[in-house]
Subunit: 112 residues, 2 copies
């Protein structure tokens, strides 16, 4: 007797952590984030110089990081200046810390 349900309602924390994790789930995006957190900010072109990937591909990765909330893009024509979104970066740091805490109460954190 299998259950069928397309949509599950997860807690906000679980959704957030999954979204952040997913964004971190590609080596190229990790490189971008590490670069950003070191340089504080950069332009798309800086990354195009560093990474052996097409400009459009890098732009796509930046879009995903932006949509996950991990970076911001400030228009500075004709370029766009990308920075880490400090608020969400800290938020994701906290969520990961909670996940890896030695002891936590499952039911206080996990709500389906």
């Amino acid at each position: 007797m299998n259950k069928t349900l397309q949509q599950i309602k997860y807690s906000q924390e679980t959704e957030d952590l999954a979204r952040f994790s997913k964004a971190l789930g590609h080596p190229t995006r990790l490189i971008i984030l590490k670069y950003l957190s070191n340089q504080s900010c950069c332009y798309t072109g800086d990354l195009v110089d560093i990474l052996p990937l097409a400009q459009s591909t890098i732009s796509q990765h930046l879009k995903e990081l932006k949509e996950a909330g991990l970076i911001d893009g400030e228009v500075n024509p004709p370029r766009i200046r990308y920075c880490i979104n400090q608020k969400n970066w800290k938020k994701s740091k906290k969520l990961f810390q909670t996940l890896f805490q030695e002891d936590f109460n499952f039911f206080s954190v996990v709500k389906l």
Copy 2:
């Protein structure tokens, strides 16, 4: 003048962190891991009872967590006992800590 290269060689750390992140990048898998880290171990059936998903879907998620190295499955017929792989769990914890460190040297961590 766009670059074209299908395969990029990332550092082992970057690959590992991306693999762990990707595995964490789905709410259902987060729930499973949180449950496991609380219960220490469980069977597939326990998760089928908790999660409103088909048994085959849960089995698939367990497979992904296993392939990422985050859990182990010990055959205990006809059931399979799943536990967190403590070694890799700690490893991923460390990798995330490094990622979120306030200050680190980009070039000491990131090697393309």
